[in-house]
Symmetry: C2
Subunit: 191 residues, 2 copies
């Protein structure tokens, strides 16, 4: 991070990401604009394009942050239990908690209309998240472990989305995620 000279900002790339995150937090995924982010960074509207190819590229950079934070949290969650069913349940709760704590990041990754297939680094980060869940899933159900991961991911995502839409409060979102994840994992382990 270089110092600002009055002409050069010094850390514009970072400042833009921060401003964008604030904007999404304030106005929702749709409410972020390059122009407003530029204003908040005290920079002309054209400046951001020296750091990001386009609007989507800025969102993609934030989405990457989001996936990395997720991976960290999910690894912790899986590490916080020994029983594999509980590990999966803890993951589901952590997924919801991420949506609660980092609402802006969550919205960017899932409601900003970003085409993830256009950013290979995002697909890669998504796979990394998945990899954390495969070991416990295999202990629950050696075959079809991937299906189990997907099923648990789907509930967790549904609960997080419902929280985001205001259908669930934070408590209900966490509880529903935990209970449903347990139900799915237990059901599959016994048939």
């Amino acid at each position: 991070m270089s110092r600002r000279t009055g002409y050069h900002h010094g850390d514009l790339r970072n400042a833009l990401e921060t401003a964008a995150l604030e904007l999404v937090a304030e106005r929702g995924a749709h409410g972020f604009t390059m122009a407003e982010a530029s204003r908040r960074a005290n920079v002309s509207v054209a400046a951001p394009f020296k750091h990001f190819a386009n609007r989507d590229a800025l969102l993609a950079a934030l989405a990457l942050r989001g996936y990395q934070e997720q991976a960290r949290r999910f690894a912790d969650a899986v590490g916080s239990a020994d029983d594999p069913v509980e590990q999966l349940a803890e993951f589901a709760v952590a997924y919801v908690q991420f949506a609660i704590d980092e609402r802006a990041l969550f919205e960017i990754t899932f409601s900003a209309g970003l085409d993830k297939t256009a950013y290979p680094e995002l697909e890669e980060a998504g796979s990394a998240v998945l990899a954390v869940l495969l070991p416990p899933a295999k202990r629950v159900r050696q075959k079809r472990a991937l299906e189990l991961v997907h099923a648990i991911g789907a509930v967790a995502h549904g609960c997080a989305a419902f929280f985001n839409e205001g259908v669930f409060g934070a408590d209900q979102a966490r509880t529903t995620a935990r209970t449903s994840a347990r139900a799915i994992a237990a059901y599959r382990s016994t048939r």
Copy 2:
């Protein structure tokens, strides 16, 4: 529906809704614009505002269609089984099938950044959808039936979202929804 005179379109409101739906189907929820819809209806860009207060109002009209179609499908699904657990499972499958068959409507209702609280008719339609599920949920678990409905709704939504994102194929989305819904309903009915 009146006839078109060359000056008056005759059925512009409907034509705009249809064009908007096509646009969303072609380009995603984000890719719809009033201007493009106007062009497809062979009408000036200002004309739509005689029929819709703003862009969101057009989306809201389509979202309403979506909820009504959902209510129809869910009622059918619940009617297609006798066992209440299977009724809930059929609902979950129907939810996913709606996302598959009516991708554009699904995206409008859940990925278009539409503020549903601003349109009371949407909240109302959402409640109507919920009402279909309460009777079977009560048969599974008299107390906390609403929680059960929410949990099943969350899985179904998660599966549909994963399908929409390309994580799931159609078959996998349906199967995961059915199996997970069964697991949740069965788990809750036995404890």
